[in-house]
Amino acid sequence: MSSREPFDELEAELLALGDLLDVPTPPPSDVAAAVRARLESTPDAAPAPGGEGAGAGEEAAGEPQDPGGGPDPAHGPPATPIRPHSRRPRRGEDRRRPPGRRRRWKVVTAVVIVVIAITAATPQGRAAVARILRFAGIELEIGAAPPPPVTTTAPLPGERTVPPSEVPSRAGFQVRTPSRLGPPQRTSVADGGRLVSIFWPDGIRLDQFEGTMDPYFFKKAGPPFPDFVKVGPYQALWLPGEHPLGYIKRVDGSVVPLRQAAATLIWQQNGITYRLEGVRTKEEAIRIAESLE
């Protein structure tokens, strides 16, 4: 992401506009099932060991010139995998991987986790669902009545406290801190470096994660309703009340309710989504958000 320079106002507007554009997408599990069915119905279901005459490798990778000049996977040697299969990590090894390996995935912003409803699906609850709002990597279900609170708390996947000096090497993106809040109490990294949480006294926390295409968090809200505000040039969303927060791992479908979250400001800046939780007033939350550096 090093080629990304500070955005000017028009660029910020284009980014915000992109988030509002409606692109019809079928459920990911349907797409996955359809692709699998196609792979199973053809004789060469296993990945071809290279050298195939036509197809994506030719079209995607077969161009003679290498525009980037650098490491470009689409231009890799077609014949064999670069590394033998034995090199692959064993299950459960991910979180113990040294930071150097994790950094290879720095630009992979696709979010592994999608998000689901976590409150009990009462008939009233279902009927009250007014609309789903997707904003800056967070899916928000806004209903006519306040949703029932979550009474449990759970950590993020693979969440662990790390010393501040280790944050840059463990996070998959550049971590920023608001100068207005002073030194944090502690910092944690979760989900293989995809999400970083910084904590201050009085229940204030800042979560930041890369990737904006798929929601990572799920929130439910009713009255008092969310409010659109600006953090500098960036569109932001203020959720004034407590609300349930949760997510699910897409890969294995396991459900992880998180907790009842306090008032939260959500915004997105240069491809990173931020959620600032626990600041009492909207005005102060915005000032803190604007002090990000």
Binding site: L14, P67, P73, H85, R88, R134, R250
Partner: protein, 179 residues
């Protein structure tokens, strides 16, 4: 299971692992195909791209990021489709329903903002093809310059200059004031 493990297991013929990878990148792939001009045919393009990506997974360099590698295949499939249709790839985008949720206490300001967004979108739609592709990749898909270069198979310098020209044209069209 992270990308690396999913890819390793897919290479061993584990279709469930590849299914997980497809699900993970499905939304981004659809968004890319749609925005690069596949429109209503994005679903077909994406399926085809994922099938081809699986076949060519052995050629993927495991120390490189999977995302731009996959998106390049998606962009190629999209290009093949629009070329076969024999016409300019239209940018069939519309503002989402989310736009009307905001600022219920300020209908006038909201109307102004909505109007500006619509004008900006129309201006992006009207850009020359290369500039539009650069702007779509850099801002709507939020790819870096290097990723955009890889996905569109252009030199990085072309990405920079096309983006720059596109932005200049947009400024002329809609001005630089904030909504």
């Amino acid at each position: 299971m992270d990308d690396d493990e999913a890819i390793a297991r897919s290479l061993d013929g584990d279709l469930a692992a590849y299914e997980a990878l497809v699900a993970r990148y499905s939304a981004l792939a659809h968004r890319t195909a749609y925005m690069l001009g596949a429109g209503d045919e994005a679903e077909d393009v994406v399926q085809e791209a994922f099938v081809k990506a699986f076949r060519h997974l052995p050629g993927f360099r495991r120390d490189a990021p999977f995302r731009p590698w996959l998106l390049r295949i998606v962009a190629n499939e999209t290009h093949n489709l629009t070329r076969s249709r024999g016409r300019r790839a239209e940018l069939a985008l519309r503002l989402g329903a989310t736009a009307d949720v905001r600022a219920p206490d300020d209908p006038e300001g909201e109307a102004v903002a909505t109007d500006r967004r619509a004008r900006l979108l129309a201006a992006v739609r009207g850009l020359p093809e290369r500039e539009r592709q650069a702007v779509v990749c850099r801002y709507f898909l939020q790819l870096t310059e290097a990723e955009t270069a890889q996905v569109l198979d252009w030199p990085v310098g072309t990405v920079k200059s096309s983006t720059h020209r596109g932005l200049a044209r947009l400024r002329e069209e809609v001005g630089n004031e904030l909504a």
